[in-house]
Subunit: 390 residues, 2 copies
Amino acid sequence: MRTPCFPIVLILAAVAWAQPQTYPLGAGPWNYTTYEKNTKIRVSVVTKGLSHPWSLAFLPNGDVLITERPGRLRLLHNGVLEPEPIAGISGLSIDQLFDVALHPEFAKNGFVYLTYIKKGKAPDGKNGYWATTALARGKFDGKALTGVQDVFVADAWQPLNGGDGSRVVFGPDGKMYFSSSHRRNPDAPQDLSSDVGKILRLNDDGTIPKDNPFVGKTGAKPEIYSLGHRTVLGLTFKPGTNELWETENGPQGGDEVNVIKAGKNYGWPLVTYGRDYDGKRLPGPSRDGFEPPELFWVPSVTASGILFYSGDKIPAWKGNLFLGSMTVGRLPGTGNLQRIVFNVNGEQRRESLLTDLHQRIRDVRQGPDGLLYLLTDENDGALLKIEPVQ
Amino acid sequence: MRTPCFPIVLILAAVAWAQPQTYPLGAGPWNYTTYEKNTKIRVSVVTKGLSHPWSLAFLPNGDVLITERPGRLRLLHNGVLEPEPIAGISGLSIDQLFDVALHPEFAKNGFVYLTYIKKGKAPDGKNGYWATTALARGKFDGKALTGVQDVFVADAWQPLNGGDGSRVVFGPDGKMYFSSSHRRNPDAPQDLSSDVGKILRLNDDGTIPKDNPFVGKTGAKPEIYSLGHRTVLGLTFKPGTNELWETENGPQGGDEVNVIKAGKNYGWPLVTYGRDYDGKRLPGPSRDGFEPPELFWVPSVTASGILFYSGDKIPAWKGNLFLGSMTVGRLPGTGNLQRIVFNVNGEQRRESLLTDLHQRIRDVRQGPDGLLYLLTDENDGALLKIEPVQ
């Protein structure tokens, strides 16, 4: 017999169901033995209290700039998180804030770059707003940003629809490599007249270098460096080389690490190893005319920030590639730190680290102290430090 | 200053290094909440004390036959492991024992089938021995096997070299599907005059059905059902269909689940998604003329036994595919139970279960009670039971 409270039970069950499962991070530290059993590490919390942190940059004085996705720039000063966000970016019309990078001559010019999703009016002036991916620059004086303005606004205006991360990194050539993700636009990543689904190459003032691969090509945007990208969540140059390495979120089983070359097509959505989220098979893996991934994952690891470790503090890790994994196969609580070991032939081994912390690892960086630093993309996000244990 | 004990420390360190890392299984039981948070399971130990168990078969009376890779057949009687192995197989010249399967009419005829690596003399009569994959049959009387003899010995004689698992399963057509792995022979899996790297189709007495796909083809062995296989560690028919599903261990990043069709080529070593263990890229993913995998993993999960769950005891799992993972990316202690959820389009989601037990899951079976049973391929291997928790 149905009791009177039955509908209430159903509602409570539905609420419990819809509640995202979270895995609060403890106080730490945590010790691990890694694959090479004589390599032991300790992971400790530098700070908590960050709201979905996305990226960080180490300042020459040891302070750290940290972006929060909801649109704040935070300062870790003398190892302590300043309670108030850094002032100076309120004029940017930020929907989501992503990357932060310093100019190579930051010590001289104080330039800080930010990538973000910029809100603007829809073409009909109503029906919500449209948005694009933008790159802003300001001067940091140790406390606030001043003179913040866009140096490049991608030609990627469309409704907000997800799939919209962005990174910026300076190359050994002094140019900026700035990514504009697919934003669930199925056609634009293959269209050279759009900045959607591209990696762009710019001078440090946002102007376009004359030696870009599509300069002078009719119908093509001269800022484009490579095309056919989905969600670009990591960019880094391999130390000592001119190789630009990239993480790209694919569909199910389509996450990739690519080595980005001028003018090349990375295939989305024409070629991919993955399946769509509804289980449908996508066109298939790479073929002639498209660059195959250097690495891929099935199931996907939601690959985010990427870094080659070049420090001396953890000798077994020197030259290894690290990247943040936010979830494995989109299952909550499965984020980890991916470590890739190479030999002369290429990939030799992968290791999933910190799995038991159940954190979405958004970014991984090397500090000036030669240690590794991670950001956890959580409601109460943290900056973590990895150091060796003797 | 170097102390006199320094060389001893080095030797001890080297010994510790070479020691394989083991993860002893506790007493259990262990409770888990799975992806659908209202699906809670309990994993308990039915028995320990098995030496690298490989496969199991449930008898009509509830007893269980279990193979141990070193060459013993064990009996779980009334829920307790009999201390002595089952007699009757000592005449087979077993190098490694793999699968055990009952005849569909076992209740009438008592037939039990075993797959194994059979030792024989090398052609020159010295230099160690050669081996092949064989299928034996005997009658089980509840205590011992009698009349055990080979019903089919594959034409796959060569030196022992690893890569040699084998399964046998009865199809809805009453035929036996019997796998003979690649055994690190690079050429034979594509050669129709060899049984290496093939799935064979046989009558229940080991004779060859006249409707096999290569019957009458010059130079081809009539027992071959499909070709181009690497290490076949799992075979199962999808309930209610004629679909034969297979797990196949690839190189790094090359593990596959295939749907096996008569006369088709599954590509090894001409096409694969993986890399060789030394990091070298292999020829590349599937192309015309080869069957692509239904599922694959990068990094590999060392996929072993495979099963579609068709029971009613865990409703959320009905129709899901389960398979044993022995390691992820060949890292010790990373074995788990893989669960694959399908929808009308195909694969929808993967879940890694029991990761914290750190066990090599060799086989997964459904009991007559509608529960799931697992074997852990360890020195002190166990039979585990998965049941729902209300």
